[in-house]
Symmetry: C2
Subunit: 333 residues, 2 copies
């Protein structure tokens, strides 16, 4: 008999989530039926989108999220003991799983692909959902060309840091925007971003006018809010915007009012598109194998901010929402 | 020696334009040089976009706008006396013109195409810029399919009323939104719109939920503002939005704050694109000949709200901005 620990959501706060919004409970898992397998979480993912989704999670149900977990018992020959899976099991240490699991965002359970000696945690990072989000969300929607100027917000995070590096691989001029100079140093000195703007201490509009006097061709938008409006207003004619997230608004119960982007969209004739990464499920292996190749070639770097201990998951989540992580925020169970 | 009357802009007000923002002046025109021709305005166009552009017009220069005018003197064999041209000469009765004139929006001077016995004023209406805007802006960006649900705001105006009819021709279910029941009657009883919502007296969100419970496939956006946010939130997954104008904001000196559309763009994975019609200059004859054919077949109807007298141009402009016109607002000089 296996006992799973899990965090259930007991309340959704107006502002940043609080430890008291969650409750750690234990649950006895049933014995496996045919085709089921038991997994034990090794790494949990904490991502910005989870905050936006919280109001839709029924009270007293398990908090959502993906994890890398090891199969420790199995009645399914395709999912043998010892193999690893990436699945949206939520914030739980153990799960009785079946091979068919598609989460609320269309993400499907999968075996962790063969990534050689690289850390298995990359299955929820650069070689998983965030990496796929960056790869398809940027390349398919922004259609960047060599020599173009690309702006990325949330540049210090799991997705933004990869988008900027892919843009560099494609020969673009890359400006990253994030909220700490420590992130800025990492982006420009380690990842090869051309420029960095700290939106908390600098005037984004003035900096962009200096760094991109001809305007911006592509904008990968993780944040929404007033910063995004400023960037929309600095786009070139026929610029492309990929909207991945709006972390500036995830804590608002009432949607925020923001200076309109309509004027920029019309006069710059912008193409703006939002996406959820599962729309590319049928070719997800393209992204994983390309990102893996770029890592092996030294062209794509990753960094993880690791919180130790399942019981600290809420803290890891809140720290990530406060922007304290650099690169991918994960919990080592 | 010909004297031109013209309206120059002397001030830009915060709210609706006022008669005192303009001054009627007279100007003696010079004699024609080689390749020039003299035109006399017969119909002036007053359009919403002019309000948005006013802050960029230098004080004491002629107010912008297109007109249908007759060639009354010519030293250019390609533009003989008696022919008609459509040109962005501004609010003026007479102009010395050359064949090369491209306005601030990229619209080029052209001879009025052969439209048979139809009124020449259509050259600034359904067979001119507004008709081309509706045709390309809707078909190219929204890519509508038969059976889909289309919402049009500013539906009682020159562009919106044509968009809705083209959507009907393409087999769509069409919901028009405008600000008077008189417009609503015209749209549903004369033009074949399926439904009408009066945004001034009805709750747009509730009405849309009733009229399009499965959501909206295509939205042709003339207005921006809170009404547009409500519509964005009712779109279907993979919906398409063509942003043509934001008449709700044209009077604001400081851009308005509007409830964010980021959330809808992401979770509905919307494609949103803004445009200026001159991007399709190279195939503008396609639109004019198709709209003309639909008129001749009785499939496309037009209506004009005509103000008589050049001196009443400002009133015609303000009335149009107040939404008092039905169909195309023009001035008969």
């Amino acid at each position: 008999m296996v006992k799973a620990k899990k965090f259930i959501l007991v309340k959704t706060s107006e502002d940043l989530p609080k430890p008291s919004d969650f409750k750690l409970v234990e649950e006895e898992l049933p014995a496996l039926k045919d085709n089921e397998f038991l997994v034990q979480a090794e790494f949990l993912s904490v991502d910005p989108y989870m905050r936006g989704y919280m109001p839709q999670i029924p009270i007293n149900s398990t908090m959502v999220g993906t994890q890398v977990s090891r199969i420790i018992e199995s009645k399914n020959p395709n999912f043998p003991v010892g193999k690893y899976v990436v699945g949206s099991f939520g914030w739980t240490t153990h799960t009785v799983a079946t091979s068919k699991l598609t989460d609320e965002f269309g993400l499907e359970l999968s075996l962790l692909p063969d990534i050689g000696n690289l850390p298995k945690s990359l299955g929820i990072g650069v070689l998983g959902m965030p990496g796929n989000t960056a790869y398809f969300g940027f390349l398919e929607i922004c259609q960047p060309k060599a020599g173009e100027t690309v702006v990325v917000t949330g540049a210090g995070g799991a997705v933004g840091s990869i988008v900027g590096q892919i843009a560099k691989i494609k020969g673009c001029n890359v400006i990253g925007i994030a909220g700490s100079d420590e992130k800025g140093k990492w982006l420009t000195q380690k990842l090869g971003f051309d420029h960095f703007i700290n939106y908390k201490t600098q005037n984004v509009e003035e900096e962009l006018k200096k760094l991109a006097p001809q305007g911006i061709d592509c904008y990968f938008d993780n944040v929404g809010g007033e910063v995004s409006t400023v960037i929309f207003n600095q786009m070139k004619i026929f610029g492309r915007v990929s909207i991945c997230g709006y972390v500036s608004g995830y804590n608002d119960r009432t949607p925020q009012k923001v200076t309109t982007i309509h004027h920029a969209i019309i006069v710059k004739q912008l193409k703006v598109e939002g996406f959820i990464v599962s729309r590319w499920n049928d070719k997800i292996s393209e992204s994983i194998s390309q990102n893996l190749e770029w890592i092996q070639q030294g062209k794509l770097k990753y960094r993880e901010t690791v919180t130790e201990g399942f019981e600290n998951t809420v803290n890891a989540f809140v720290d990530m929402l406060k922007g304290r992580n650099i690169g991918k925020a994960i919990v080592k169970v």
